[in-house]
Symmetry: C2
Subunit: 167 residues, 2 copies
């Protein structure tokens, strides 16, 4: 099969809206707290982890870098919860997502580049590639779900020859 090239889009709240939330301060309102010494950008993502008696879990993911051009390997989804990744390293990274649904729609895969300050929160059931760090090993805070039930489905797409390219 020939290569299927996917262009990288800039990550914006509008462009990512069908997949979930962009967690960032740009373009968001805030209010003053702590006697004016801090600003709070409140409630930036819909954390959806309570299905089947789930609970919120905080973890750190340390991701190895990917040398461009990146080939996509697998997509996964979490049918019982949202999943947020917030970068702790301030380094740009790639976000690969496809619409929620029982079946992954290969022709609807999109690729976004975070500016390194933007985190994302995949809506429950949204298909996504494992995060793609770029320049170096990067840490991310994960906010997802703990509890009973099978909450991860994976589909290999290594044989589909998706290649991520600059626009």
């Amino acid at each position: 099969m020939s290569e299927r090239r996917l262009s990288i889009q800039r990550l914006t709240q509008q462009g990512f809206a069908c997949f979930g939330d962009v967690i960032e301060t740009d373009g968001r309102s805030h209010y003053s707290i702590n006697a004016g010494t801090a600003e709070r950008y409140d409630d930036l993502a819909r954390v959806d982890v309570s299905a089947a008696s789930g609970r919120p879990v905080l973890s750190i993911c340390r991701a190895a870098p990917n040398a461009p051009p990146v080939r996509l390997r697998l997509m996964e989804r979490h049918p019982l919860s949202s999943q947020a990744f917030i970068p702790l390293s301030s380094v740009p990274f790639l976000v690969v997502a496809a619409p929620a649904g029982d079946k992954l729609e290969l022709e609807k895969i999109s690729v976004f580049r975070s500016n390194g300050r933007q985190g994302i929160n995949y809506r429950r059931g949204t298909w996504h590639h494992p995060l793609l760090a770029l320049e170096r090993v990067c840490d991310f805070l994960i906010v997802d779900r703990g509890g009973q039930g099978e909450n991860c489905e994976e589909v290999s797409i290594a044989d589909q020859n998706f290649l991520v390219v600059e626009p």
Copy 2:
């Protein structure tokens, strides 16, 4: 009233255990995910936000820096939830805490310095000062609670002359 000097301690899981969790990878176990391309340091804090039908909320706090020596101003606690702060700027900051309880015990206030990669999660009801950024404006991810009910009590300690000093 004369100055009451508080020395800064190094932030460690053991030293902070009576106030909550230290969110960090050092000294924590992990497992491999995503076909070996990432490591997950799982479940690093006890998120306790469900009281009174509460829900987890993700926000970003942008904190102004404090020039040393820092004078303490106020302590607060959240009777209905834990509250986590994870640094997004990799810059050291100060954490000031006192044991949970209806009454703030002034003589039990402790001051810790995060190395800039360590986040913290205050256990429900733990008294704490607003985070003290040091060198420059710093962003923190907050994980706390949304929902009904009064979840913040504040006590001014500006008149107590607490001064934070190097050890």
